[in-house]
């Protein structure tokens, strides 16, 4: 019997040693990242390709944007991923300068379940009214007048929203805050909102999509990628220039054809680009500007900088096949400039 107990204790020891080594930085030649789930499939593909080409292993965990920021600030990861630019407070909490580079674009679409699933055209005002619970029927004149070629049914609108805090809700509410003063006043912008009574909440994109597919008359918002992969009907939306834009990877990329500031902190919702889809946004990778912290080696800093550079340039060719929207030239150039500003002991890492 004691042999058993000894064996057990031995196993526990081995196990805990394993855990401890997971806590610190992993072995040289392996980078760790964590954060946004939205770009995770793309990152998996990119990191897999990068490993084959450069023999650098990258481990990325999709734990959500908030988690990505927290993990970077706690210095447990080499880089984080986030769908929203870090707030003033978060940047202050970070202690040292944190840089952002955009890696690709995402978009949120308004999706619905109507007989025959027609392609609808919607204006920002109508979307705000629907998601404020003010327009209650599909054949409401405000919707019908925009879609004269479609016979809309006398069906109640059931609004579905995300029940979990999410970047999708953030970008959607940011857009509506910009276009509707009533929305700004009542709901505002956030990862979770104080929705009107009687809306259905569902968890994650699959939850919202699943409910819409099951419920005639339901309307909700999901990521473009998710709608494309599941053949869902979604609306063209009138942008700032007055054009109705159908969401596609291309029209989402077009949304970023605006002046990109040096830190790439730009909100692309309600974009002024004339053929850009208005509910679009960047997703970013975040990392410290000064890479010599927490005992990191120069080699580690170099391999991180090289990886980021690859993602902003050559890696972009893997974006479109996965139905994400690639960075336009201006954004890619801004990202390269930011990566070149990374330092180790004050000296630039890449030349």
């Amino acid at each position: 019997m004691f042999r058993w107990i000894k064996a057990l204790i031995f196993l526990v020891c081995i196990f805990s040693v394993g855990l401890v080594s997971f806590n610190g930085y992993a072995a040289e030649g392996e980078l760790i990242g964590a954060g946004a789930t939205f770009p995770q499939p793309l990152y998996s593909k990119m990191f897999d390709t990068y490993f084959q080409q450069h023999k650098i292993k990258i481990n990325y965990q999709g734990i959500g944007s908030g988690g990505g920021i927290n993990q970077l600030i706690k210095k447990t990861v080499d880089f984080g991923g986030t769908d929203a630019f870090m707030t003033e407070k978060e940047l202050k909490d970070a202690g040292a300068t944190v840089l952002h580079i955009p890696t690709c674009l995402g978009a949120v679409v308004v999706t619905y379940n109507l007989p025959g699933n027609p392609k609808l055209r919607l204006t920002p005002e109508v979307i705000a009214q629907i998601f404020l619970g003010k327009v209650k029927k599909w054949n409401d004149p405000s919707i019908q007048s925009l879609n004269k070629d479609v016979k809309l049914p006398d069906l109640s609108i059931t609004v579905v929203r995300r029940a979990d805090g999410s970047g999708t809700t953030y970008i959607f509410s940011e857009y509506l805050t910009k276009v509707s003063s009533e929305w700004k006043e009542k709901l505002g912008t956030g990862k979770s909102l104080n929705w009107p009574e009687g809306f259905i909440g569902q968890k994650g994109n699959p939850g919202v999509a699943g409910y819409i597919k099951q419920t005639p008359g339901a309307v909700g918002y999901v990521e473009l990628l998710y709608a494309l992969q599941n053949n869902m009907a979604y609306a063209s939306i009138k942008n700032k220039s007055g054009n109705f834009i159908e969401p596609t990877p291309k029209s989402v990329s077009n949304a970023a054809k605006v002046k990109i500031p040096d830190d790439t902190n730009v909100s692309l919702t309600d974009t002024s680009a004339k053929d850009g889809y208005p509910i679009s946004g960047f997703t970013w990778l975040i990392f410290y500007k000064e890479q010599n912290y927490g005992g990191r080696s120069l080699k580690r800093a170099e391999s991180l900088a090289k990886l980021l550079m690859w993602m902003a340039t050559d890696g972009q060719k893997y974006v479109e096949p996965l139905q994400y929207s690639p960075l336009p030239k201006e954004a890619s150039e801004a990202a390269q400039k930011i990566i070149k500003s990374m330092t180790y002991n004050g000296k630039p890492i890449l030349n």
Binding site: S166, K191, Q214
Partner: protein
Amino acid sequence: MTKADKSEKRFTKILLISGLSIIVLLLAIFFTLLIASMPSIKTFGLGFFMSKDWDPSLEKFGALPFLYGTLITSFIALIISIPFSIAISIFLGEYFRDGVVSNFLRSSTEVLAGIPSVIYGLWGLFLLMPITRYIQTAFGTTPYGVGIFTASLILAIMIIPFSASIGREVISLIPGDLKEAAYSLGATRFEVIKKIIIPYARSGIIAGILLAFGRAIGETMAVTMLIGNSNFLPKSIFGPGNTMASVIANEFAESTGITASSLIYIGLVLFFVTTFVNIIGTYIIKKISLEASKEVT
């Protein structure tokens, strides 16, 4: 001191440590919850349970809709499940104790108990939701398809195996001579069930039901998928609502500051509610088993 004595002592020590570690674990969970929810407790105090506002943008929080949602769904689920679980336990414990049919039915209930709750949720989305929507259309209420009623229904199905398997276990343990004595006095099978089996097995059956209630209170995934996640007090049994477990599961990942603290406060409340149910449960079981043993012997 012989070798046997030594090992005896060592064995006792190991048992003691294992036993104590459970208590330490329980206290650790309690204090973690308490400390992490402190900011919220300080801000909202006990009014937290009375307030029905849950507004993340204004950072005003109240747990009443969730407390209410948890208790009402679990309670309705319990009411729906009781007739079925008692019937199954009598059927398996008394009518068909052995044989192919019994084995098949018994393993079926065991398999039901082992199915992950997310699968119940999915199944509910595909089957229960259309059914509920049909009923709602018939009643003339808004046909959401999801809500308190749908969530209670799935909970009832999920907890039946728990109460049924404990009930069956207890019923099959009833001494044969008790039943034989009743039969020899000319009792019919129904009379034996009513006068001997149910009174004798009552504490076990109730224990099973309480265990099931505990499970219903803490159930998360399937409920999240079917309750509609609306942070308001439900207006009717068909309306969307939310439960404590479900709001934590939904919102915790992306929450920070006072929002996170308020969610943990809800977790603390959930901890207390389950402990409370357990304590009442053990008390009832103790009392009833005393009475039952007096009645039968």
